[in-house]
Amino acid sequence: MEVNDYNACVHQWSDALFRFAYKCTGNEEDARDIVQGSFEVLWQKKEDVILGKEKAFLFQVAYRQSIDNFRKKKRITYKEELEHSDVYSQRNHDLKQVLDRALAQLDEQSRGLVLLKDYEGYKYEEIAVITGLTETQVKVYLHRARKVLKNYLVSVENII
């Protein structure tokens, strides 16, 4: 990988990587650190990364760093977002925000799987490579996560 290829990866995947890291950690600073760390690893391993597999490599590094970040902090909150949001309301039925809160209910592993699936459109086998799980495990964990999200949506509807 040459310098030009690396810089192209920065322009192409830095935003998506940041969104993924931000949703995984729930913290903007942690997400920036993860993005910087992921690209730094890519630069160090530029000779080993296969051309065309840079995106998968970046998300693999970011996923592992987000898991480590979660284990260090032991919790994830969207408190900052909630406090700084002017449009937030307990009675706000915005599906996106409800889903964000539902996402926070998941464990770090399930959350990463859902984000890789929905945000980046990876297949089961690709997610298995990124996360180090088997394809069957990915499928089972994803289905469990979707049921949790669905039940949270049902509970919100019931409250409302």
Partner: protein, 275 residues
Amino acid sequence: MVNMENYEELMLLAADGELGDEELAQLQEFIKQHPELENEWKLYMATRLQPDETLVYTAKETLLKKETKTITFGKWWMYAAAACLAILIAIPLLRTGEEIKPADEIVQTKTTISEPPIKTEPASPENKPGPTETSEAVAKTGLATQLPRVKKPVTAQPVKAIQQVQPTPPQSEPMVAEVTPKPVAEPQSPPAQPSVVAVVEEPVHVKPATPRTHQDAEKEMFAWMPVDEHKKKGLNDLSVAITDKVEKVKEIKNKIRNADVSFKIGRSELFTVKF
């Protein structure tokens, strides 16, 4: 085939985007046939997250790398071998310049004239050397400082000096016996001996007492050589040419000593050797 046992799994696969078009159509047909499953179907499809395009990484410039010129030394061993070879070639040149010296030493051939054994006896009227003997002794002692001489036939000169190249001691003795009683040795020629050039040549490395040029020394060396004149000239010319080459090598050596040797590949300098 969709049924009540597998419809939920198919719904989850559809939410993950892993369901094929045919299977998706069958599932949708099944849901139409079972309206109570419609709400569950909508909830599963609502769990699909949509990326927030407003979230962007604003510090991309900190991630970018600048292009730098790099010189790859994939086959570094080739460059190392070339550098070692260059050094090995340079070392003999430097040492050759030190070893080559101007011909300070002059190779002379010493012309010795063997004498009858009248040498170390104290001077006495009887043993007093005659003028011829004197001249020979002077010649003999002066050989160390004199130039090599052309062979000269010694004929009726100092009788004692005359002796064959391969003299026989018995012959000399009678001559000595003849001379010693007389205060002044009269030159006596050997009765039945033709004039003999008594020359015993011994190459001797003698350092000149007085400074002289290399060319002069060479000329003197060539002068006594038993070769034709035109060949002597050729030898002289050859000697001059060799001397010129030696001087040039010395100049190169001095230049190398006063300069640095840098090894480059194209326009890229690998390293510099300072002498």
